[in-house]
Symmetry: C2
Subunit: 262 residues, 2 copies
Amino acid sequence: MVEPLNLPDLDSASDRAVFRQVADHLRDAIDRGQLGQGDKVPSEAQLMQHYGVARMTIRNALQVLQSEGLTVAEHGRGVFVRSHPPVRRLASDRFARRHRDQGKAAFIAETEGAGGKPTVDSIEIAELSPSPAIAERLGLTTDDRVAVRARRYLINGQPVETATSYVPAEIARGTRIMEPDSGPGGIYARIEEQGYRLDRFVEEVKSRMPLRSEARALKLAPGVPVFHLVRTAYATDGTPVEVCDTVMSSDAYVLSYELPAR
Amino acid sequence: MVEPLNLPDLDSASDRAVFRQVADHLRDAIDRGQLGQGDKVPSEAQLMQHYGVARMTIRNALQVLQSEGLTVAEHGRGVFVRSHPPVRRLASDRFARRHRDQGKAAFIAETEGAGGKPTVDSIEIAELSPSPAIAERLGLTTDDRVAVRARRYLINGQPVETATSYVPAEIARGTRIMEPDSGPGGIYARIEEQGYRLDRFVEEVKSRMPLRSEARALKLAPGVPVFHLVRTAYATDGTPVEVCDTVMSSDAYVLSYELPAR
DNA sequence: AAGTGGTCTAGACCACTCT
DNA sequence: GAGTGGTCTAGACCACTTT
């Protein structure tokens, strides 16, 4: 099989490193659509032959593209242009009561609405003392107790998000918040049944590279950052009633927020 | 100079690759604070000696840490633990009118308030036809005309954000939106003077690895993702009056939003 | 001049995938 | 079995920083 791609030759006059030139050529091919999503990049052997350089030079070039999130290597198969998963768009009204009253948790309702198959797995529940960061947000001390619910969300079997909720033990005790199935409407419905009317959420958004454990849990390709969200739920009297710590694959989400101009 | 760090030996029984084990050891040292921000990681030569492996193996390990955003290499000096810049916290009311009426643009006011020295540079202004994405958001066609303002924001000389605003030419023409200094209160003040009362903004947030041009413009360290924001401003009658496309260094920002529960 | 990381070569053996 | 990427060795020369 001959090189299917029209890759330029090296510019020996340039002082740009050879592996960078190779990376540039491949990146251009991807940007111009000569290599589309899922297409196979020429093999290391083909690229060595084409450019007449050592294997490590080619591997350095491919490493650049991978760390830019443009390609994925599959052992024994080849290097492929990354295909981006369907994107979930989270609107700023996603926690509005009208979405909660259907009796389904937000994630389930949204995903089914978009035609995907939602799954929730590895639900772990515990009661323990909060970290300083969580305690502060909940207006507690690290000697108080909180109910912790950790779970992972998947769409069509593909993990997209892990979330850990913290609810003051006083609110959660004796409710289905402490059970694997938190019941219709999810934990927000349970909190309201305890007499707290939800008023607003404050969501803090960070972006960073994943920890190794996060990359594993979300099956992230190399070069994909994560959103790290910490959302605090407040009742109408200003009491914080829940903190939710969420890590999401950044290429599965677009977050949308409405800001007041008033 | 003897190894100042207490790095474990390789586990020859493990089937984990040697360079990954080395990366794990260094990562642990950073996580545990044995290596703090700005500290020098042992040199390649020292690590080769300590582990008794080839240089490429050590370099592979260091490459892992770098792509995780944990370290930066400085040619001729060494590899250092990344120090994180001061973080700017953007609140969801940052475009509220009360912040605009001071006569200063949002960025300037905020930065001075936090004790930093704000700068804005490379202001470029043009009038041209919008891309399909911009046209759609502004309710225009690609045959219409828009005013384009591109600029870069710096704090204490460190670039943190690039922004490009698009305003329908009908609104911008003949105003200071087309001049380098857009005047007191910034372009939102100019838009309101044209008779459009600002009502709300919708901000879409994505996270991804930077393009090469973005990494250059923001002087990003390897392994640092960016926030990509597209904000659309709407007047009280629902007319979109501006789109602002922003790329921000992710480790300089925490975004904060308020969501309604009603 | 000595020490550091940046680039590159030319091999080797292995594990995985496909046919 | 042939082709692919994953790991590793053992060198070489270069460019940059520090002393």
